[in-house]
Symmetry: C2
Subunit: 247 residues, 2 copies
Amino acid sequence: MLATKLEKGPSIHAFNPWVPSNFGTNIRDQLLSDDERVRLEKIAVIVRFKKGERIYAEGEQADAAFNVISGVVSASRATGGARLVTSFLYPGDLFGLSREGNYTSTIEAMTPVAVYKMPMLALRRILNKDADLSVDVIIKLCEELRESQRHAMFLAQKRATKRLAMFLALQESLQIARGESASEIYLPMDRSKIASYLGLTQSALSRAFQMLASKRIISMRDRRHIKVIENNAFDKLADVIPKEKTI
Amino acid sequence: MLATKLEKGPSIHAFNPWVPSNFGTNIRDQLLSDDERVRLEKIAVIVRFKKGERIYAEGEQADAAFNVISGVVSASRATGGARLVTSFLYPGDLFGLSREGNYTSTIEAMTPVAVYKMPMLALRRILNKDADLSVDVIIKLCEELRESQRHAMFLAQKRATKRLAMFLALQESLQIARGESASEIYLPMDRSKIASYLGLTQSALSRAFQMLASKRIISMRDRRHIKVIENNAFDKLADVIPKEKTI
DNA sequence: CGCTAACTTGAACGCCATCAATGCTTGTGG
DNA sequence: CCACAAGCATTGATGGCGTTCAAGTTAGCG
């Protein structure tokens, strides 16, 4: 193995749940060792998707798990006629672990996307052999669980402007965690996906955007570039709390 | 080891995600082997809580994980002034895995409760040694993740009666999964917790109950015993789908 | 440069939040 | 065993906010 940082192979990013090493820094660790990444890479193939393409659909046989390399995908589940976006997944995220061999979500590319695709059987064989790797997956799943609970907290809010502010604050924090500039919030997905994620109609979401803009809390360079103008009002709306924790 | 089924030791119940063995039966497997349960039991202590007691609070240092033996607990997270119940946990469920060493939820007993309490350090040591056990935890976490997404789907519904119907359907299916009678739905938690879980005010929840009752879709023997009268209307409201799947 | 899809805006209605008062039940001590 | 209190639950009236449906606008892409 090289001494330098590996640039290839599946990668899982998460907050270290055991040691408060990065305490409060909001920086995610690479959980996998170089060795593990090499081993996973052996069973993985890289697949690319164009914006708008579907990676897989709810109900299909689940014969592979995925790891996002670049780009953004959405996960959504049918719910009586409609369809709810349950999460947006970014590089370092994991998806495709399933129940009874069938996917429970539909995954679509929000941007051009590259993913590692790992056959379920081979992955299972590795997980059953490598406890350390399994523990890393556990850590990542705990994080996705917390993220899902956070999503529920968005949906439990009664005012559209509040849901939107919380969402924007989340996007901002994710950008920071990725080490990107935080001067502007970039939204890779379109309004209909955001509306679905927030449990709002597109009209209500649009009005919420206009409301925040007219109150000079945010400004919009275009539909995908948002800047927070009044931090105080924004943070109060978005319930920004210094830090966060688990289950 | 005995050949007969173990009756003691931590226990994780989940749907087997690899093999469609119980396909469609809605029955959960015991994931842990007798051997694993014995090993876990060695580091676990049983703790009991009275109804209404708090097991731990959001933000406290997380030095143990828990496994429900009997009773029901609620997990809730603060969300700007209010507090949202994110899940109800039953025997065979796991909680307390955390980020950066602090709990992210508050756990309260809805009924008298018994839990296994496992010190985090010892647990981590076992997980890092036993890949099979870790994989079982992975399976369980995938399930909790799906459950959390289902919760989000409840919250995304716009009509209170629909949220309630979906919730009642969930409780019914959990009862069946536990092998209990399904002729009547029993609600171990009080109205305020249900309201919080569904993102409704108590008034709205109460009205939703009355609405379903007045339409003769359900009947209430008392506040905690509900029976579904009109299955057709109920299933349509609750979006009951034959089966379910994953991420 | 024109088409289509994405987004915004408008008006009316309905549902739920809100606040407050009343009714029920559970547990406790006399 | 009953009375009382404290919490839990239901009910009522009002208003705000988001849904709905539809038309209009902008932006993205060939």
